[in-house]
Subunit: 279 residues, 4 copies
Amino acid sequence: MSAFAPRRLLQRPLPFSIPRPSSAQASPLARLPIIRSAPCSSTSRQCSPDSHKPNDIDIRTYLKQSHDRIFESNKKWAVQRSKEDPEFFAKLSAGQQPDYLWIGCSDSRIPAEAITGLGPGEMFIHRNIANLVPNTDLNVMSVVEYAVRHLKVKHIVVCGHYGCGGVKAAMEPHDLGILNPWLRNIRDVYRLHEKELDGILDEEKRYERLVELNVVEQCRNVIKTAAVQKSYMEGGFPVVHGWVFGFKDGLLKDLEIGFEGVLGGIRKIYDLTKETKGN
Amino acid sequence: MSAFAPRRLLQRPLPFSIPRPSSAQASPLARLPIIRSAPCSSTSRQCSPDSHKPNDIDIRTYLKQSHDRIFESNKKWAVQRSKEDPEFFAKLSAGQQPDYLWIGCSDSRIPAEAITGLGPGEMFIHRNIANLVPNTDLNVMSVVEYAVRHLKVKHIVVCGHYGCGGVKAAMEPHDLGILNPWLRNIRDVYRLHEKELDGILDEEKRYERLVELNVVEQCRNVIKTAAVQKSYMEGGFPVVHGWVFGFKDGLLKDLEIGFEGVLGGIRKIYDLTKETKGN
Amino acid sequence: MSAFAPRRLLQRPLPFSIPRPSSAQASPLARLPIIRSAPCSSTSRQCSPDSHKPNDIDIRTYLKQSHDRIFESNKKWAVQRSKEDPEFFAKLSAGQQPDYLWIGCSDSRIPAEAITGLGPGEMFIHRNIANLVPNTDLNVMSVVEYAVRHLKVKHIVVCGHYGCGGVKAAMEPHDLGILNPWLRNIRDVYRLHEKELDGILDEEKRYERLVELNVVEQCRNVIKTAAVQKSYMEGGFPVVHGWVFGFKDGLLKDLEIGFEGVLGGIRKIYDLTKETKGN
Amino acid sequence: MSAFAPRRLLQRPLPFSIPRPSSAQASPLARLPIIRSAPCSSTSRQCSPDSHKPNDIDIRTYLKQSHDRIFESNKKWAVQRSKEDPEFFAKLSAGQQPDYLWIGCSDSRIPAEAITGLGPGEMFIHRNIANLVPNTDLNVMSVVEYAVRHLKVKHIVVCGHYGCGGVKAAMEPHDLGILNPWLRNIRDVYRLHEKELDGILDEEKRYERLVELNVVEQCRNVIKTAAVQKSYMEGGFPVVHGWVFGFKDGLLKDLEIGFEGVLGGIRKIYDLTKETKGN
């Protein structure tokens, strides 16, 4: 890992300079998409006290500056929006009517609205680690239910991305504590497609394919829901899509999961379209 | 609610015209921040068949157009980014080092990156219905764990917004099926602050205060985690912030929860800083 | 299903007679292991008001009697235990040191302690619908963690049973609301073994095999945990077993999952035995 | 804690002798109701290899014997049941019609069926660590839904017990990893009743009161569900009870939560009795 910090360069120009205290810097592992043990992370007891005790004044200054800068940017944004369209905020207050539900990764490099060109009010958004849709996760299940039955979205997009740290971390043989159960979902994807994945000799390509297959499986999980099955049967929507975002070119790749075919296959086992009285 | 659809106006100009089939339109309830039963929603059996059977050709055309338009926009975005900075995507590929974790609402009108002015690589993002952080929700707990222990973020922002449909829906006496358990968390917030809220006579103001108190309580939930307590004790960060976004002016309001004070109060009951061997 | 109520006969003799009000009786569907819509369940609006409004006095009397009877039985039990062993409760107070963790179904016909002959203090117990161990379910994950790392159990038993209502309900094409996500785990088991199950033409036998395969898959889920993998590597225990209980003969059937073989296969994808520093 | 192992004495006489290998014994902490770090637990690296490497032959012998003994006991139980009532298993096969739902602790010392005197088919059972009913826990929520809407139980019992290891562990300032989120629910109970609990100077009595208040709060969580509210409004049942089991005398204590009063208070904030069309 070079000393060159990519974060510094990626961000838009700051309104003022914030020198980052060296001791407060994210550990080198954070720059990689893979979780690794840092040689001397801040929670390690083997390190000398000096090496991980940041300079308190530096930290506090940095925390204040990096806090205040957001409010500066926010004010500028609000002024700019009003300038461009004096009724912008009046319309925003009127309500939302999104056609899209986006289920994407929490990764900081995928601003869903920007890369899709969608404006405020158009896309309902859920983002979690590795864009997962576990059967029994009430968080994402509530999102799908609300988006389909109440907002009546037309498209549900599950969007993964190559170089996903969550996907890579999931495949490392490490005990990550509270992260284990969540990441285990990705290993379940591996198991479902073990033969295909084991047949890919190049490690990078195998990860890329796992990223794709993870998206496909999460699409299946979305389609398994009663909300999606019933809404589609009654109204012809929503359609579920599996996409992958690539950092190298900024492009979305449509995996073309073949929604109707998947839905048909799922109906055999997961059909939930008949109502049970009294429930 | 006027027949005038705000969504149409909010969005950026489309590269081509997409006539929305009337039968595929989101039900009027979607425009309101409150979940209500529509007089003739697509799942209602009282309506005549004609009134809710959309014209299949219209729907399919609309679905295709509204799908393709994203890929058009995405290509333009990628070209534009490369023009502005030829190394943009090379830097993006290098990894993320975010200083901020954003826990916000799924509402389509709050593009977190845009309103904070943060660029790609700067903010790790989780969004769910009503920006909740339930104790036992592995989805958001995994996000906090990863952001604090692996990415070493400096700030955790819980950001609510006035006019939150989730908060209002939670307080309506309706059985919302699978949404009940999730929204019940908001009722728990109400219970914790019943006296204060009942003392606010104006209904709109009472909801606004509930939105704020919900943010404060979710901040408490974040601070209860072992990850935050330990990291702060060892390194002086992250700091947890409670903000509210207003549609009327586009501004972020800092609720100034007083992180250190809250942390101190929480430590009495929720202190998790001592390690237990062998776990 | 005959009008003959099996419950009445199964239970031990009551200390006094409790006439069950007819209107308060469980709907006929409850007697079957399959969830079905009752022709006139108490939540149905098509029924005449008389048919589902129980006689309030009858209900209240029945509720009181069926409540009080427990306390009568409990007192008798406590007296009996003390008679048999005057130090019984002193020992009970001293703590637990269970060798077994039982993960079984909530079904009322499987008293885990009785059918295994284990006494108080010997078996830590978790029971849920269809004895499931979903990756991301914190409830059962907490049970496994506590049992393995703190109580150091030697055996973990996942015990299913033939005629499981949860397993059958899961395969019916009905929208069961909040039950959908939980039961979907069973459909995932079906999908993993679709070919084998589809090859079984007799429906009853297919369900029986699904019950068994569900147990096998839940055993796998237990073995995927870091707690089990690490404890076994270090101490040679716990061993994970898959059993099925049969109502017809009251016998436990050992599915002989071949713990070490399964563990070996799982290690390839789910190995969590290496520690990551700083977590 | 004496070296005297209570487990040995509590259990019913074994059909054959199983010498427990000393190295395979549960760590001393397991005997206590409080989770503590053992001086030399099996996952600790500070211990010499000899001290925690059990004798493999001993372990394997013990594992086999403690496995086989269950099947011996099971066969005896089945024979005994058939002797007492030749139609016992035929009735068991006919289905379940339980009047009670029991939500209790996983603790190995509380055989729910035995202490209540209820027979097979009478009580649907869920047991987890510290008898919790978190809002968003799909495991227990599915149990409540199934028991109320499908089995139409008349009573729901939340039963805690004095000397609960989970409750004590929850209040210790230790990072228990994956157990943290689950146990945090108990700290939330503490917070809700901080004034009362802080006023109890005797630590043991404070814990006993926390055990009781935890039961009361979990009863509230049960009553918050739409299933319970609707069923009670329509049919006058189920009634929710809060009980505590005492190891010292084996008796159940009814906390007399005053179901109707609690329900009334909850209705103000948590009323879910109105149906929303189309959901």
